[in-house]
């Protein structure tokens, strides 16, 4: 199998590669979501703790 055949997927390139592209986007989004949520939450909690320390 050469590179052209690989990307052509026997004429089904549009269907095969769009499926894989969507899968990649969904997987990456699933990884990024908790990373972002964690950062946001830790930021919130840190701000809260700083506020509490200022007014004893």
């Amino acid at each position: 199998m050469n590179l052209h055949e690989f990307f052509n997927m026997g004429g089904y390139a549009v269907y095969v590669w769009s499926s894989y592209a969507i899968a990649l986007v969904v997987l990456v989004a699933n990884v990024l979501a908790p990373v972002r949520q964690r950062r946001k939450l830790l930021g919130q909690l840190a701000r809260r703790q700083r506020r509490e320390r200022r007014k004893p």
Binding site: M9, G10, G11, Y15, Y20, I22, A23, N30, Q37, R38
Partner: protein
């Protein structure tokens, strides 16, 4: 062993232990996925009926399996939380919902893209497709219900009940291709006797299935850690963690 599980159930230990596991799980998942993709996209031969379009199977079928698997995990964890008031089970249940929803979405969309060249239609109201669509709505319902209720413990109980009732849909999806005369093809891997699939296609399919399971495990632990932090925000260990991350 029992002590290990007891520790795991405490939020603080869970947070620490899960944090230690996640990089290893992620590494194993990535390696398996790369190996499975290489086997599936390069090594596996072209199908005599479907040409190369069948290669969508390597993400479609594992996604569909995961959509059912995660639902059962979610309902089981929900039941454990409901019966034994185990907070960690509630956290696992609710953390599973968005991941399950995204795998259901992936199964539907890749099925649709595969259906267009093979069946000539993006969508048909076939028993299996319809039941899988209902599964997506169940996941979305669980997520909506959880975010709608302010008190998170009440929300977890309500969503657990919804998830458990929805389990009835799982055997319907699984057996739909046998109970009804569907356009969706019958099972090729799980039927009794030898699977009617070339070994060079079966191996990447199973490798991808294991890789997707590891992916779920990795991501559900990541989500559960954030949920634990949010719920325990007033605990001493979270305060210390925030001060020195």
């Amino acid at each position: 062993m029992l002590r290990f599980f007891h520790q795991l159930a405490s939020p603080k230990h869970f947070y620490r232990i899960a944090g230690r596991w996640i990089p290893w799980l992620a590494a194993a998942c990535t390696l398996l996925m790369l190996y499975g993709l290489y086997q599936g996209m390069v090594v596996a031969p072209t199908d005599y009926q479907q040409g190369d379009s069948y290669r969508i199977m390597f993400i479609h079928v594992p996604s569909a399996w995961m959509s059912l698997f995660i639902y059962v995990v979610m309902a089981a964890a929900g039941a454990v939380g409901l019966i034994w008031h185990m907070k960690l089970a509630e956290v696992i249940a609710i953390s599973s919902a968005p991941i399950g929803a995204s795998f259901t979405f992936l199964a539907l969309i890749t099925g649709s893209i595969w259906g267009k060249p093979m069946w000539g239609a993006w969508w048909v109201w076939d028993a299996r497709l319809t039941a899988e669509l209902i599964l997506l709505f169940l996941y979305l319902g669980v997520m909506a219900l959880y975010s709608a209720v302010e008190d998170k413990r009440t929300a977890a109980r309500a969503t657990a009940i919804l998830a458990i009732v929805g389990v009835v849909n799982i055997p319907i999806i699984h057996y739909s291709v046998e109970w009804w005369n569907t356009l969706h093809q019958g099972p090729t891997v799980t039927k009794f006797g030898a699977p009617s699939i070339d070994l060079r296609m079966l191996i990447p399919l199973l490798v991808m299935a294991v890789a997707f399971k590891l992916f779920y495990l990795t991501v559900v632990l990541m989500r559960a850690r954030v949920e634990v932090l949010a719920r325990e925000r007033n605990a001493q260990w979270v305060r210390e963690l925030v001060d020195a991350p």
